[in-house]
């Protein structure tokens, strides 16, 4: 009998398609899944994360967006653009910020949505120097998000 390796999203509420060579983390607090080109704690890495805020009162999308932005205020984000954008069959609110982490200048795209009263956030963090070459590919990975 041939043993099959479990998929990186086995047991999660969603599926995500991404190349095998990327690093997968499922033990980072506040997230369900992190996929990274490089080490997750390296500010120079491109990092995709998917996570939900569970165990709280049901929220609206606007409440979730406010909460996410308030919780990241310490990054001193410079909000560049925002708007509605569908993701995984839901109405999400997309934001893109310029941030500095560990001395590195980064671009942070986030999509925030609510599913059954639970707030979900998908994000892509890309070094600003690589935003032309890497950001689009990382966003393509996020666009494959499907809830199961």
């Amino acid at each position: 009998m041939r043993l099959r390796r479990r998929t990186p999203t086995h047991g999660l509420e969603f599926e995500l398609e991404f190349p095998e060579e990327l690093n997968v983390y499922r033990d980072v607090a506040g997230t369900d899944l992190i996929v990274a080109a490089g080490e997750v704690n390296d500010p120079g890495a491109t990092v995709i994360s998917i996570g939900a805020v569970r165990g709280e009162e049901p929220v609206t999308r606007d409440e979730h967006v406010r909460r996410v932005r308030a919780n990241s205020a310490d990054l001193q984000p410079h909000l560049v653009d925002e708007g509605p954008m569908p993701l995984a069959g839901h109405k999400s609110w997309w934001t893109v910020d310029a941030i500095v982490v560990g001395g590195r200048s980064l671009v942070l795209d986030r999509w925030m949505l609510v599913r059954d009263g639970v707030g979900w956030t998908a994000s892509v963090q890309t070094p600003a120097l690589n935003m032309h070459s890497i950001r689009d590919g990382a966003i393509t990975i996020v666009s494959t998000l499907r809830f199961t």
Binding site: H78, V80, D81, S105, A128, H132
Partner: protein, 259 residues
Amino acid sequence: MSSFNAETGILTASRDEIGALVAWATGAAEADAGAVDAMLGQAGAGSLERPHVKLTDALAPLRRPIVGVRLAKTGYLMPGWVGEGRFTLHVYRNGDDDQLVSMPAEHLVHFLLWLLDIGPRPRDERPAETSVQSDQLSRAVALRLGDRPSEGLLPEPLDSAVAHGFRDWWLASSHWPPAEGTPGKIMLEAIDTDAGLWSVQQLEDGTAIVRPVTPLSTMLALGDLLPDGNLVDQSAPRLPLEDTPVHGGPVKWVADVLG
């Protein structure tokens, strides 16, 4: 009265004093080294021979610039330099309190997003292109920079956006020793209004094409001011002296209109 912040490395001095320091450091113009030394000493920034370590960092891109940057905002042109992994800009303020500001080169886009106040704008439908006479567009922009009325100079809806919702006009350009067969410069010009950002493409026939752009596409375009390594002639020791920016000042066509 000059001053130096040893934590941030920001030097504050008169326009002429910073201009003289820039001329000396780039070697691209004459400068009175004695006067510059006196200014640095008074500010607590060391001397030309022994500058404070933070000032050494700030001057590194001037001593060996690879990319020359020109940034015009609100009717004033400011010179900047990229080299040795750093970006330094002579920030024009009131003339007696100009600043020499330096940062890691990769922070350039973030800095410009802040300086140019790029942020979310309305997403209402706008014409894909508007062709205008360049001199009419310049006149409208200059009038608004002087807080004067500009109504009726441009086609709608650009006219209303400029006349009633003008925020700013800016131009950012960079140039470098190009690798063979590649471009050696880039220029971005934009008008910022309450209705959104508009890019401006100046044509050689005296017309300009104005297009609506998003804040995101503007950020990506600003990223192009730092050329990828394969666009730069790696054998060039530095930006040629004749191409090295030294002085800024009022944008001529703005000053001409505003008298």
